[in-house]
Amino acid sequence: MLEELLPTLSNDPQAQSLWKDFLTALSSPGGPSDQLLEPLLRTLGEEDVASGLRRIAETLPGSSETELLRLALRASGRIRRELEDEANRLRDTLRDLATPIVRIWKDVLLVPLIGSLDSVRAETLAERLLEAASATRAKVVIVDVTGLPTIDTAVGGFLIEMFAAVRLLGTSVVLTGIRPNVAHTLVKLGIDFRMVGIARDLEDALRMSLELVANGETEKKKRSAAAWNAPGEGNHDAAG
């Protein structure tokens, strides 16, 4: 009966082989798993699979079209979720490529902003930057806005929030890449980035950053030296 049924389901030998696997499982005690329908759905599509399942339900005693379609729906759902995950992964990659966060020096991250900055992009960028700064214990983040065509009130707001958040992590911020027309607009809008250091170009920004990093190192050494040299002081690391 199988042999008679198969050609009615498909002309294609490969599809027939897939149907055969499914039909074999159908007559076995456990019943078929919806996974067997996945390759069929991918190859033939929903319409043909649905017709095939109807044909099977009509022909084979004890098989219910409803049950078979339910299996197909499950398999279809799984395929859809897989495709969604893939789409999300691609979106992530695209987004990461659009705004890279680059470690350009020890403890220094660089974020070159390009294109427009809407609220979703700004939010995602801020989250990524904060995670990166925290994970790498960055001492300085350089934000280069040369690639932003304009900075209006909204974008200014996003940047200010991002800078404030980075500073809360204990990381310094150096802003660079503000061109004359943008500088003009910002002042007219009353936006000043007072809470961050501002460099006139990337080279200047890097120099400022290295200075910051160096200052930190100097202070660290001074502290260690003090701990060594002063005999009554030192680290009391027990409670109380």
């Binding site: 999300n88 979106r91 992530d92 979703v120 939010e123 995602t124 989250e127």
Partner: protein, 149 residues
């Protein structure tokens, strides 16, 4: 059984979770409950934090300015089926006479701290609605949608 009204027509039956705010500890309880609810509903860590912080602010406002009230949570969806979380903080307290002024920073210390919390909540959430009537109470409804990333 007659329909309950927590204030401004808020019916607890139409919410997934209702937390009554009566004592100071209830603020922390509300935080924990919404944190779990948001996590269970697939919100990102960043958004769980925002929602939890918002509830902390709203629950505290209810406790401090009204004494008692409720924080209600429910799942919701937007037009294209984007899932979201709706939070309603409602009380039958003294109400706010000039909401706009409070949101803008207020004049007194009382208004200022109330305002800072509310203004902050508004910036964290995707939707924000506030209704208040002196003598009748206050309702704050906010919604956060899950980002389809």
């Amino acid at each position: 059984m007659p329909r309950q009204d927590l204030g401004f027509g808020v019916d607890p039956e139409s919410y997934d979770i209702v937390i009554h705010i009566r004592r100071e500890q209830d603020i922390a309880t509300a935080r924990q409950v919404v944190k779990n609810f948001a996590q269970e509903n697939g919100f990102s860590l960043a958004d769980v934090t925002k929602v939890t912080t918002a509830v902390s602010e709203l629950a505290r406002n209810v406790y401090r300015y009204a004494g008692t009230g409720s924080v209600c949570l429910r799942r919701t969806t937007r037009d294209h089926g984007t899932p979201g979380l709706e939070i309603v903080a409602v009380d039958r307290g003294p109400g706010i006479s000039d909401v706009a002024r409070v949101l803008a920073g207020g004049f007194s210390t009382y208004e200022r701290s109330l305002g800072i919390g509310l203004a902050g909540v508004r910036r964290l959430m995707d939707e924000f609605e506030i209704r208040s009537e002196p003598g009748a109470g206050t309702l704050v409804r906010v919604t956060k949608y899950r980002r389809s990333l």
